[in-house]
């Protein structure tokens, strides 16, 4: 539904742009570095032992428009293939979780509070559509700020817990020692993400620019009825890369 409206909007934009004075087309390529994380760590996370970005390429096309070539202000829309991922190892305490799994024969559910080590790997692929206001003070620099919408088409959110214990039901439940148990929340993830994004580009060649862009998801990556983690998590990623005007 949303995607259809967006495509209509994009088509209208391009159609309008055809009569406009100044259109630019760019190819963007880079890497996403960041985290799918809570904003403000809950106190149940005691220690981050390691963090490693996953291999997360970002590849896209951007169409930008300015009233005239000399105009400072303009607008841009784009379409990007964005991988967003990371691997973290951390230590948690009294961490509330509920794991629900279903197969043909029925549903099984476990709720409890875990204390111990956790390893989480996230690697999600999105098609995202950024929309920006652009500001081009001169030939060298270009700044932009706006929002994005993104559709998840490949989800990975998995990991394991180890070297600890889980309490059945809640912190008052009986303690069960855990050496290692895996989890996979990939299929629970929301398919739609939206947020703010903004960044800057600097010209380094005739058509080539380096860019840095921050995208900050405003929609939790898990639906509100998801109970695997009792706090919302957001996609917060920086894209570092280049753009090439075509």
């Amino acid at each position: 539904m949303n995607i259809r409206i967006f495509i209509i909007f994009l088509a209208a934009f391009i159609a309008t742009g055809a009569q406009a004075q100044h259109l630019e087309h760019r190819i963007q390529a880079g890497f996403n570095i960041g985290a799918t994380a809570p904003v403000g760590l809950p106190n149940t996370i005691r220690k981050i032992n390691s963090y490693r970005p996953e291999f997360c390429p970002s590849l896209g096309y951007e169409l930008s428009w300015r009233p005239t070539k000399a105009s400072e202000w303009g607008a841009a829309v784009g379409v990007k293939l964005d991988y967003k991922g990371m691997t973290t190892k951390d230590e948690v305490m009294y961490f509330h979780t509920m794991i629900t799994m279903e197969d043909g024969s029925g549903k099984s559910e476990f709720e409890g509070a875990f204390t111990g080590k956790n390893k989480t790997t996230v690697r999600n692929a999105y098609v995202s559509f950024p929309i920006s206001a652009t500001y081009t003070p001169n030939d060298n620099w270009r700044l932009h700020l706006g929002g994005y919408m993104a559709w998840l088409f490949s989800a990975n959110f998995y990991g394991n817990v180890s070297d600890g214990y889980i309490r059945n039901g809640s912190s008052l439940g009986e303690k069960v020692n855990v050496s290692e148990a895996s989890f996979d929340f990939g299929t629970d993830m929301r398919r739609f993400d939206a947020g703010l994004q903004g960044g800057a580009e600097r010209r380094v060649g005739k058509k080539l620019r380096v860019m840095g862009n921050l995208s900050w998801g405003l929609r939790p990556v898990f639906p509100s009825d998801f109970r695997g983690m009792d706090f919302p998590m957001y996609n917060i990623f920086v894209t570092l890369g280049v753009t090439y005007r075509i």
Partner: protein, 390 residues
């Protein structure tokens, strides 16, 4: 607006503000110009963004401990006939006392979760002549309370009709109690509860059945299919089990064979093990990986083991320990359509003799190799009127 400001604006320096006599320029063009002259600024931008992420990733101070366990409950060995067992699933402290200790009361040394408070306090005397002894543990966080009931376990008559059953509050599995409310039998149900089975009595492999040999109820053991969650840890079936002893849920994941703590303190001379059972093996026997093995039929296991000492044997050593002095095993675990009586004499192992401290285990399982997660889903064993004849 002063003339100077007007002039500044006209010169393209951007709007300015007069605050408390100081002039601040809104650095629109100038800031951009400044950044542009510094090539590393793009790095700065990225660094800012990463700092923003890092800043929100600050570790907060540790939450106050919400846990409220009694972790140990220690009495002098001389007062005990069997080791104290803290049943964390049912919040009970099970004591196996010498008669003298029962008459005079005891003063246990108690340890709790760090920071938690217990009442009555560690070292205080408790007596068994009045009402129930209940320990209340309050977590360091103050918000959580847990109550443990002290239960003195003594087996008067070594025969059981399995008439009184209770349902676990939270996980809704059934467990059998003595006529006086005491708890001497256990099962794998508390472990199965961790695997996300439906929280209802028939979601578990051990439950009461009205299909009894005598009285109203008997114990029904059914081998059930594992859950999606238990598959993750390689468990594809749960055999029904019923045994004299306790289930130590803390070992249920790590060392499940050690979770089943077999036996209750026993005195005297055991001569025969008697009871009634019926058994219907499930249709397809499967191995640990869940592969159907054609031509293999499931069988049940019913046995009693008498051993020395007061540390319980478990599924790793109940058949092999050199503390075993006598056994009575159902020789043939094949199907029986109707209640069938068994009367098996204890076989004493030559060279091993009874001591003052002994334990008697009785174990029944709907799949003989259920401890290895092999068996047939649907295998059904019903036992009733079990007895040790002295």
């Amino acid at each position: 607006m002063s003339a100077t400001e007007t002039m500044l604006l006209a010169n393209g320096f951007g709007p300015s503000l007069l605050v408390a006599g100081f002039r601040f320029k809104l650095p629109l063009h100038s800031a951009v110009m400044y950044i542009m002259t510094h090539i590393q600024s793009i790095r700065l931008l990225a660094a800012c963004a990463l700092t923003a992420i890092a800043m929100q990733a600050c570790i907060k101070s540790e939450p106050p401990n919400p846990e409220a366990d009694i972790e140990s409950f220690t009495l002098p060995d001389s007062l005990l006939t069997g080791e104290v067992f803290i049943d964390q699933s049912n919040r009970k402290i099970l004591l196996y006392l010498e008669p003298e200790a029962f008459d005079k009361g005891v003063a246990p040394v108690i340890t709790t979760t760090k920071g938690a408070k217990v009442s009555p306090a560690s070292g205080d005397s408790i007596f068994f002549t009045g009402g129930e002894n209940v320990y209340t543990v309050t977590s360091a966080s103050g918000e959580n309370r847990k109550q443990y009931t002290v239960e003195v376990v003594s087996i008067g008559e070594w025969d059981w009709a399995f008439e009184k059953w209770l349902i676990h509050d939270k996980d809704k599995y059934q467990y059998v109690i003595e006529e006086d409310g005491g708890q001497v039998w256990s099962s794998g149900n508390p472990g199965v509860a961790l695997s996300g089975v439906p929280k209802q009595p028939d979601g578990y492999p051990l439950r009461a059945t009205a299909d009894s040999e005598s009285g109203t109820y008997a114990a029904e053991l059914i081998t059930l299919k594992g859950t999606v969650l238990s598959n993750l840890v390689g468990i594809k079936l749960f055999a029904g089990s019923l045994f004299l002893g306790n289930f130590d849920v803390s070992s249920a994941f790590l060392e499940p064979l050690k979770a089943t703590q077999f036996g209750q303190p026993f005195t005297g001379k055991a001569t025969r093990f008697t009871g009634y059972y019926k058994y219907a093996p499930g249709a397809s026997y499967q191995d640990k990986e869940g592969n159907i093995l054609p031509g293999v039929t499931d069988s049940c296991a019913i046995y009693a083991v008498l051993y020395t000492g007061r540390t319980r044997l478990d599924a790793t050593n109940i058949h092999t320990s050199d503390r075993i002095i006598a056994t009575a095993k159902l020789p043939d675990g094949s199907g029986r359509g109707h209640f069938t009586r068994f009367d098996i004499p204890f076989t004493y192992i030559p060279g091993r003799s009874a001591t003052k401290e002994m334990m008697m285990a009785i174990v029944a399982s709907s799949s003989k190799d259920g401890d290895q997660y092999r068996g047939a889903i649907g295998s059904r064993l019903v036992v009733d009127s079990l007895a040790i004849i002295q």
